[in-house]
């Protein structure tokens, strides 16, 4: 019992540490937020977001924004550990490495969700659509989980290479395609008020992806951080 307790405590400690530090400096969140708003702005000029096409395109725009802003968060989160050797500090703790993975993944997910919660109303106001539908929120949650799960693993790798920040998107994007496809389709379905049985297969696939990749990532995390 004590062992399980220390495991959960460690996960909580890592996640809390990231959130507490970020709440104080707010560097990461502000960067992600400003970046997201800029991306949406650019989309305004790049795509014709008039009323007719908007609903079809909105989910795509949102997800592209989240994916790109997400890499900022993932990179920074791992860079903090690597730069001051703090990763060693984590590895010295007498706790299973996967606890570090879960702690980091949870805080990465939290950062993404915080940014998304702020972007949604911003987008709603700018383009006069209501994005606060429970179905859409569910999809965003599921998609972010999958993204953070794989992203945390791959950012732990990319931060240890010479090319650092640049490496993460290159590694992450081809592998995150299923999340993107299913999330965009499901989001689009909810926004366009399609019948539920048309949205369900996409939701299913998204959940399957999430489960598979959380499992793979935490099993393989050891190999990425240990020497």
């Amino acid at each position: 019992m004590k062992k399980k307790n220390s495991y959960l405590r460690a996960i909580g400690a890592v996640a809390w540490k990231d959130l507490a530090a970020e709440l104080r400096s707010r560097e990461l969140l502000s960067a992600m937020l400003v970046f997201s708003l800029l991306v949406i702005l650019i989309f305004n000029f790049a795509l014709e977001l008039d009323i007719k096409t908007r609903d079809a395109v909105t989910s795509g725009v949102l997800w592209v924004t989240f994916v790109f802003a997400g890499t900022l968060g993932l990179n920074r989160s791992m860079a903090i550990e690597k730069d001051r050797g703090c990763l060693d500090g984590l590895l010295l703790a007498p706790v299973d490495r996967s606890a570090i993975y879960f702690g980091k993944a949870i805080s990465n997910l939290a950062f993404m969700l915080i940014v998304e919660i702020i972007i949604l109303p911003a987008y709603s106001v700018l383009y006069n659509t209501n994005l606060f539908q429970p179905g859409l929120l569910l999809v965003i949650l599921l998609g972010s989980i999958g993204y953070a799960a794989v992203g945390t693993l791959l950012s732990a790798m990319s931060v240890q290479t010479r090319t650092r920040d640049v490496m993460l998107p290159i590694l992450l994007f081809p592998v995150i395609v299923p999340v993107l496809i299913t999330a965009v389709k499901a989001s689009g379905g909810y926004l366009q008020n399609l019948p539920f049985d048309q949205i369900l297969p996409w939701l299913n696939l998204l959940v399957v992806y999430d489960v598979i990749f959380i499992a793979i990532s935490f099993m393989v995390f050891d190999y990425v951080v240990e020497e």
Binding site: T161, M167, L171, P174, V177, P201, I216, V220, Y223, V224
Partner: protein, 232 residues
């Protein structure tokens, strides 16, 4: 590790001969297809190279897992060889596919499941090679490579399934009733000969290239070792 083992030399020659024969079969022996004309001949090599690419893909994933379990760098070399070969062969597949698509569907590219998945696989391979480039320590390089091929190997089939939920215009050639309607066709027995021979020939070519590549990697390691000895 001296000169090439004779078995490998023989295999080199055999592969070359098989390639020549397969080319003859595809370009001359097989009858011209009624509807599509000569461009259909691309199909024999297109499927064969895709098959080789797939072999490499699976080999890479499997050897990655084996490396992680055994920590034996030999498997890392196998994985790297598999990725490189698969990268090249999938590229040939895509190019041949484009050559076929242009006259038939009037487009160089479509976003159907197979083509899109193949492109994503290529991007994953390129990411893999770039990842390895950025790491000095051989053990870490091997570990990260293995982890990434594992992640890729699992992600790609799911990607394929996801895209497949859309309608596809990619012909389903082998045994499909409405083949003609989708740009497919049924094969005569002569065509079948050319087709299966190409598959066989390219499998042998794959083994030949694989063996050569692994041998090359081992020679590289030997050179590294000698370099270090001289430096001390």
């Amino acid at each position: 590790m001296k000169s090439k083992p004779s078995a490998l030399k023989t295999l080199d020659i055999v592969s070359f001969i098989l390639l020549a024969v397969a080319t003859y079969l595809a370009l001359v022996f097989a009858p011209t297809e009624k509807v599509m004309g000569a461009v259909q001949r691309v199909f024999y090599f297109h499927v064969a190279t895709a098959w080789v690419g797939l072999l490499g893909f699976v080999a890479a994933g499997v050897s990655g897992v084996i490396y992680l379990r055994t920590q034996n760098l030999k498997w890392d070399l196998v994985e790297q060889a598999a990725v490189e070969i698969s990268l090249v062969f999938f590229f040939i597949t895509i190019v041949l596919g484009s050559i076929w698509a242009r006259p038939i569907w009037n487009t160089w590219w479509t976003w159907d499941p197979r083509l899109t998945s193949a492109s994503i696989v290529e991007l994953i391979y390129l990411a893999y090679l770039m990842l390895r480039q950025g790491i000095e320590d051989p053990d870490r390089r091997a570990r990260f490579g293995a982890v990434y091929t594992l992640v890729g190997a699992i992600s790609v089939p799911i990607t394929f399934l996801s895209i497949r939920m859309f309608r596809t215009i990619h012909p389903v050639v082998i045994g499909n009733k409405s083949a003609a309607a989708e740009g497919g066709f049924s094969m005569s027995s002569d065509m079948k000969i050319a087709f299966f021979f190409a598959l066989f020939a390219f499998t042998i070519i794959f083994i030949d290239l694989f063996w050569n590549r692994i041998r090359l990697g081992q020679l590289q390691q030997k050179v590294e070792q000698l370099k270090l000895k001289v430096m001390e």
